[in-house]
Point group: C2
Chain length 90, copies 2
């Protein structure tokens, strides 16, 4: 499901995702996408902000986009909001 | 607290904020800022997406920015994530 250089944010504490993003950069990624849907959107923003503030001062936000995705829930299609935050390095 | 042309998203259902944004545009605003902090961030994204999808097909996202704000909680400063979504018209 995850593309290369993409961290999918779910229900874990934000630090799990901060670590995942850092690992991508340490392995040579130039850009890392942080993606989330529904209630995890807030956690995706927390992940980017904790990273910028405490762990990677040279991180820059290259792009933020929002969208609507359709997911099947109890057999019915439902719309759910999504976010993609693209981080790079200075 | 709210600046002109700014809708602060809190704990109400997203439709309350969709209506507030539409009202700004109907009164002549060229741009409307949707702002939220903490858990309301997801609702701010929902507001923008419901608006674009169902109520204002010519709405465009001019900018999305995220930040960290410091708030006093039980007498102690705490960091909280924030989002600002700037909507315009095509």
């Amino acid at each position: 499901m995850a593309q290369p250089d993409t961290v999918l944010v779910g229900q874990k504490p934000p630090m799990s995702y901060v670590t995942a993003v850092l690992t991508h950069f340490e392995r040579g990624s130039k850009q890392v996408h942080i993606k989330a849907r529904g209630k995890a959107i807030t956690r995706a923003v927390d992940t980017a902000e904790i990273l910028r503030r405490n762990f990677m001062k040279n991180a820059v936000i290259n792009d933020i986009s929002i969208a609507t995705e359709t997911v099947e829930l109890e057999g019915k299609p439902r719309n759910i909001s999504a976010i993609k935050i693209t981080l790079g390095k200075e």
